[in-house]
């Protein structure tokens, strides 16, 4: 791994989680406001995550097991916001706490 690639790889890993955060945030606000544009933006954030993960898998000298982990994480990140959202809605509805 060259010094330059080292920095680019690290920053890309950070960007991947940051993009996941942006996806979760936009998804949450979009669902709450029933805003199609925010949900589309959430999709773009997730798209950025996937592109970043693809770059990490295809263009960095990380070992194969880490590349598999990155691919798996990218898939897991897709599911977490909707699953969490559904769980929160379910518990709130069950308690009659909020509409």
């Amino acid at each position: 791994m060259t010094p330059g690639v080292l920095l680019v790889t690290s920053v890309s890993l950070g960007f991947m989680v940051l993009a996941a955060g942006a996806y979760a945030l936009l998804y949450g606000i979009g669902r709450f406001r029933n805003s199609r544009s925010l949900l589309v933006s959430a999709g773009f954030a997730y798209g950025a995550l996937v592109l970043d993960a693809a770059g990490l898998i295809l263009a960095t000298p990380l070992a194969l097991e880490w590349k598999l982990l990155i691919a798996g994480s990218a898939v897991a990140y897709l599911g977490i916001p909707p699953l969490t959202w559904r769980y929160l809605q379910h518990t709130h509805r069950e308690e009659g706490a909020h509409p």
């Binding site: 080292l6 950070g14 989680v17 949450g28 990380l62 518990t91």
Partner: protein, 465 residues
Amino acid sequence: MSRSKNLAVKYLVAAILFFGVMTLSGLMSAAYYIQPDFLFGLIPFSIAKMLHIDTMIIWLLMGFMGAVYWFLPDEFEIEPAGIWAAEILFWVFVSAVLVVAATFVLVQWGPSTETTLWLVQQGRKYVEAPRWAAIGVALVMLVFAWNVVGTALRARRITGIMAVMSVNMVPLVLLYLIAFPKIDNMAVDLYWWWWLVHLWVEATWEILIGCIMALAVMKLLGTSRKIVEGWLYVEVSMVLGTGILGLGHHYFWIGTPDYWLGIGGFFSALEPLPLLGMVVHAVYDAGVHRMKTTNRPAFYWTLAEAFGNFLGGGVFGFMITLPQLNLFAHGTQWTVSHGHFAFWGAYACGVLSVCYIAMQEQRRLAVVNGRGWVWAFVLLNGGLIGMVGSLLVAGMAQTFFERAIGGSTLEAFIAGQENPWFVLGMYSRMFFGLIFTAGYLTLAWNLLALGHREAAAVAQPAPAE
């Protein structure tokens, strides 16, 4: 107010005061990087750093204890078991911390003898306190555990949150006992030492703050117990599932077997997943309540906790957690940057939220708002983000020039320290450290003055028509 809540206020006040000592010693530590002969012959860098790190642990611990003593009578509707012992030990705890701090500053070091270990310091990072003080801390933790578990037993009932907290008391006390042994083999010593540091911070503290925030959210937003407890169980399982074996990322370069590289990298990479769930939860709660609450500062600090934890622990942590990259970034300012952001997000913001909740009830304020807390919030968070950004730049320069290009030789170390990007990072960190300090002073003033203006307005007779 109950005795437990009075004790809670004392703990929270002490926490805020030690937060100030941590900030001041942090500024001192930052100054050495700009002026290496700063306080030459008086206080070396290592002592300032020790004060900074140790008071960070102490103020957060006191904040947690204050929060638990605050919520305990609400949960069980009785005074905690053994509250008298907790009241005595509060003063013992504070006195011990002051004596240890004075010993660090005035005595500083000693020869490699048992006497030094018992009376001066143990020399192990984060748990440098001499043995007599470490025994004191263990005693305080033991009584704290008794207060929680004993109260549940005396009340003959248990809530989900208090059950989780009670079980968590066992590792909280037991893991601290690792602060005592003197192991000659450094690799073996570090192996066990990480159990204390990592498993306290990324397991038992995570659960403790999870329970505290669950109680805070119920108080702050009126969220039902069932919802809060359901989420707490999910969060605790995920945090423990990823956090316990995440311990492996500290075992990378200390002489442990190679398989720790795989275990540490794998579980650390999973650690951002529950944090992402927390972000969604924060958005949901903020949306449900339409950002309306009677205690805005507490609400905003709670939100800052979710986002800070995600950014500091998740984003900054994932950048350096895979072994191939950690080989170069380990122990640089990059790690320092991650550590600062993660501690701030995961713990400090939560403790500050509880401070505002307690002050609202103690001073019988219908609404807590105003400009003071906003200034404190912006200056503290702005200062912190500036500091971690500066440390990130410095750490990247260090990783690039000293480790990757220079190969970690002494010459490379000097070249890294003199690199313009590193130097810029250090100056910039100092600047943002000063902003953070201004935020701390504003926070302290705001917490002190909260409600006094309203009280003065009520006491002032209305002008004659």
